[in-house]
Symmetry: C2
Subunit: 441 residues, 2 copies
């Protein structure tokens, strides 16, 4: 009897105390290493990464958020300026930290060593499927019958698109590349750096408004919707059969704007940076109608980098797996909720100001959330209203707010772009200084 | 007494039956998923990957090696041609499969979401350190005091270097880009695709040999050593203060060539594809002497893609961790041993032939292996010796050997490049057909 009890007890403790049956074999080291680094405490004001700097100690250093310092980022630097410059999408980090189980990916030592996928291309077929599903779910782009090309961020695809729309022969005039102020400066600086004989940056779209169709050259018009920096939904300006548009819809997601209808233009570009928040992954995609344009963009990607990292594509696949789970709305609800709260706070502060104003934003019906809603753009496009306040960037800088001056976007310097998509730490510091500044009026 | 025994037994079964103490928590799903896919049997003639096509079943399909087919790649297609075309470095795959524990990396859902590392750059400082260590260990490049830039494969760095060496102003003549036949066609096709006003592909280096220094323009000479396709160690041809060289040392590793001395030129480019075998990662680096050239290349990388994938850099770091372990020679011994065996077999077969010949290869002293050794290049550069055999590619193709014709490398079509760095399956099939072909003479 005692023997039976002993045996039962020993067996039961195996099942109930040892836990579930699966245990890692070869993956253990990688899993352990990742959990160890994730457990490094950075006071909630920083992060340690697997590839962070390792000094004399044996674990990577905490990398602190702006205005925080110290070995575990617990020291707040009191007179430190708010970082409201770049669009690093850290506002989405909490979403991923709440889902560690589902969002990690273990890349084996032998993962995809070859140059191509099994179909001979540089493009993951499973990832294309996921992207089309994502767009169908959100309803922001028509994807039926379209071709898809991947690039290193939308950045690489912008020039690939300019190349694809430019003439093939030197017998034709170079294409004229235009953008409408205020616009994302890379459209101009990138085109100028590459300095191709087949195209040339030709200034603001408005110059060509009246006579584009009568010019003997192709126009390549950048249309950004929502626009960066001011968040407005835009349409192309030039008309004519010689006008091609590159539609940069990086921000056309429910977290930033209503989705009135699915976009349907011939060439549309997206980036994972502004949907899941993974800017460091360098992954963007173009949705293309015309097969000839698609083939030209593939040639460009082949020549430039022979496609993009297999790891970036694998990671994007895993992240989109998580996004598409269930009703596929969790990420967008989280992101929209954060942006809405931030805009509510911002509008409240600016409502007290006569000196500074925000861009005007009108509500629109959103087919994703199925109701009318205000835009909640990634950036505040602040205007210094006083006539003498010509350099808004300097005025805000003196008030410890580091934004980006309007002239960077080919607008007047009485405008400043403030990033609202960084971490909660960055946003809190920004709100603090804005409150102080406006209280002084 | 019985109670004590019971307690002891319960506790001991926890320790000895449950196994070691560490168990994964949030990393479990990623680890389990990776092990599951790795366990998919593809008969040793294919591989299943985490992002492979998933049909009605619940696991990714086996992706079969050339000439193998079926759901688990067990069917050999008997009249299928040998794939001896591209340089997919599968010959290194067994090295990584033998080290699954050390070579995997688990990327968390929140890994490096921002645009930059903590120093504001796109370049992982830890990875730069590893690369310098690697070069010191192998002794193939001088890295002291040099700048390092990363790119999407060496591919992206080639054009970044052409850009960096080209004039900044349209007042100067475009730089003349040259390469020496037989050469890797991308130097020409890439320069032509980008078609920058600041440079132009100007033909074979030999045309300019006599008068380069008297021409009022910069020459940008591509020097590939060992050369692709013929594996020879080369030096620059043109002389003059107006001559800049881009030194593509992708194959300058002990698996392919003796290392007589560390390379010391002003701009040297490498790719992880040809050292660890991870061509799909799209990771290359340039080692640069001049700070101005370094800054220009950084601008190019910024404009083109805003740096490269953080996942690619993390993966490269992990892989180099493994390479640098112990005496740091394991990978090179493995790789050299494979290449040596393959060349021994190849030379044996070709020794019986009067119709076909291999490139002449002379032994050289290697500072890495500390002895004289024959080159073991990545490619055989086969020549059809009979006068009437003008198209060697077609002759080999008819004999079921699919290589690359000499004209692709700007050489005569009586040459064919055969890839010797693919999988053992590919090499065995190649040897089989070569043996048959030469036996027929």
């Amino acid at each position: 009897m005692i023997a039976i009890i002993l045996i039962l007890l020993s067996s039961s403790s195996n099942m109930f105390v040892c836990g579930e049956t699966w245990e890692p074999s070869w993956s253990k080291e990688a899993a352990k290493e990742a959990e160890k680094v994730a457990a490094i405490e950075c006071s909630g004001h920083g992060r340690a990464y697997l590839d962070g700097i390792v000094l004399n100690g044996h674990q990577p250093l905490c990398e602190c958020n702006p205005c925080y310092a110290g070995p575990n980022c617990s020291q707040f630097i009191s007179n430190c300026s708010a970082n409201a410059g770049s669009g690093d999408p850290y506002f989405l980090e909490p979403f991923w930290m709440e889902r560690p189980e589902k969002s990690g990916i273990l890349v084996s030592g032998w993962h995809r060593m070859g140059y191509t996928y099994s179909d001979g291309s540089y493009i993951s077929e499973m990832l294309v499927k996921h992207i089309k599903k994502l767009h169908q779910l959100v309803g922001n782009v028509v994807t039926d019958g379209r071709f898809v090309v991947f690039g290193g961020g939308s950045t690489q695809l912008l020039n690939a698109a300019v190349y694809a729309y430019s003439p093939d022969s030197s017998l034709q005039s170079p294409a004229k590349v235009v953008a409408t102020a205020p616009y994302y400066p890379v459209y101009r600086t990138q085109t100028q750096l590459f300095n191709s004989r087949d195209n040339r940056y030709e200034g603001d779209t408005s110059i060509w408004k009246q006579n584009a169709s009568s010019v003997n050259a192709t126009f390549i018009e950048f249309v950004t919707s929502p626009n960066n920096p001011d968040g407005k939904l835009t349409k192309q300006i030039l008309n004519g059969s010689n006008v091609k548009t590159i539609n940069d819809l990086a921000y056309y997601w429910p977290h930033f704007t209503a989705i009135p209808s699915p976009a349907d233009q011939d060439l549309i570009i997206f980036t994972i940076s502004k949907v899941t928040g993974h800017a460091g992954t360098r992954f963007g995609w173009a949705i293309i109608k015309d097969e000839g344009v698609y083939e030209k963009m593939l040639s460009y990607l082949d020549s430039n980098t022979m496609g993009i990292s297999r790891e970036a594509q694998l990671r994007a696949l895993k992240l989109l797996d998580v996004v598409l789970e269930g009703d596929g709305k969790q990420l967008f609800k989280f992101a929209y909720s954060t942006m809405k709260n931030r805009w509510t706070k911002l509008k409240e502060i600016f409502s007290k100001s006569k000196r500074f104003s925000l861009q005007k934003l009108s509500p629109e019906y959103c087919t994703f959330f199925k109701r009318s809603r205000d835009p909640t753009p990634a950036y505040a496009w602040v205007k210094c209203e006083r006539e003498e306040d010509e350099n808004c960037y300097e005025i805000l800088k003196a008030a410890k707010i580091d934004g980006r001056g309007g002239s960077l976007y080919s607008a007047e310097d009485r405008y400043v772009r403030l990033s609202l998509i960084r971490s909660q730490d960055d946003f809190d510091i920004l709100i603090n200084y804005l409150t102080k500044l406006i209280d002084q009026e």
